[in-house]
């Protein structure tokens, strides 16, 4: 299992901050497809991803216990 975090509008759409899902040995792209389908999230392919608090690309392979965060375009400052 891996932990998935949602922020900003993604959190509003999903209605949760965090979910625990299957994903061990998947790549990020596959996880995105699964999450998009499960929660009706659109445009997830253009959202950045962090794995264990570092930016990661779609080919990154996930491991048991990883924390994956979807990072919509940021607007701090």
């Amino acid at each position: 299992m891996v932990n998935v975090l949602f922020f900003a509008h993604l959190k509003d759409v999903v209605g949760k901050e965090e979910v625990s899902v299957e994903g061990n040995e998947w790549n990020v792209a596959r996880l995105k497809e699964k999450i998009a389908a499960d929660y009706g999230l659109e445009g997830l392919e253009s959202v950045m991803t962090a794995v264990n608090e570092e930016f990661a690309d779609d080919e990154t392979i996930l491991s048991e216990g990883d924390t994956i965060a979807f990072i919509p375009p940021v607007s701090g400052g």
Partner: protein, 154 residues
């Protein structure tokens, strides 16, 4: 703790105090405040949200990038989260350097980088509604799902 996410109002002098140094001749600060009007639309208040653990790491990374580019530089950044009213302080960036030009440049670099790589989001509330605001730099989205290498490493 030179790089912080704060739920409480930021004390500007506390951030400045972190960069005071005997070799510094110049300290610049950038203070981001909540503006009432954006494109003619009246903001009531903002909510800032952060992926806190990662945001602190990314602020530290920006500090490291700055110290590599501009020698003898001290950097401290605090970003607020939660509900902010008009004129409230959202972010304070303090940079000290021996000479003033570097101080302005390094400070400006910091705010641009915050708007690129630090996972913090704001939701604007107007009388008619509310909306999470996307990347204010209006750069293209990242097709690979990841910022470009130069965005990440400066």
């Amino acid at each position: 703790m030179d790089f912080e996410i704060s739920k409480d109002p930021i004390r500007i002098e506390d951030v400045i105090d972190k960069v005071v140094a005997r070799e510094a001749g110049a300290i610049t600060t950038f203070i981001g405040t909540v503006r009432e009007l954006t494109n003619g639309k009246k903001t009531l208040f903002l909510i800032y949200e952060a992926y806190e653990a990662m945001a602190v790491k990314k602020l530290e990374q920006i500090g490291k990038e700055i110290r590599e580019r501009w020698p003898n530089t001290h950097v401290a950044i605090t970003h607020r989260v939660g509900k902010l009213d008009i004129t409230d302080v959202a972010v304070v960036i303090a940079v000290s350097t021996p000479h003033r030009n570097d101080s302005y440049e390094a400070n400006r670099y910091a705010i641009e980088r915050i708007k690129e790589i630090v996972p913090i989001w704001k939701k604007e509330h107007w009388e008619e509604g509310e909306k999470w605001i996307g990347n204010q730099l209006e750069t293209v989205s990242y097709p690979s799902g990841k910022p470009r290498e130069e965005d990440m490493n400066g």
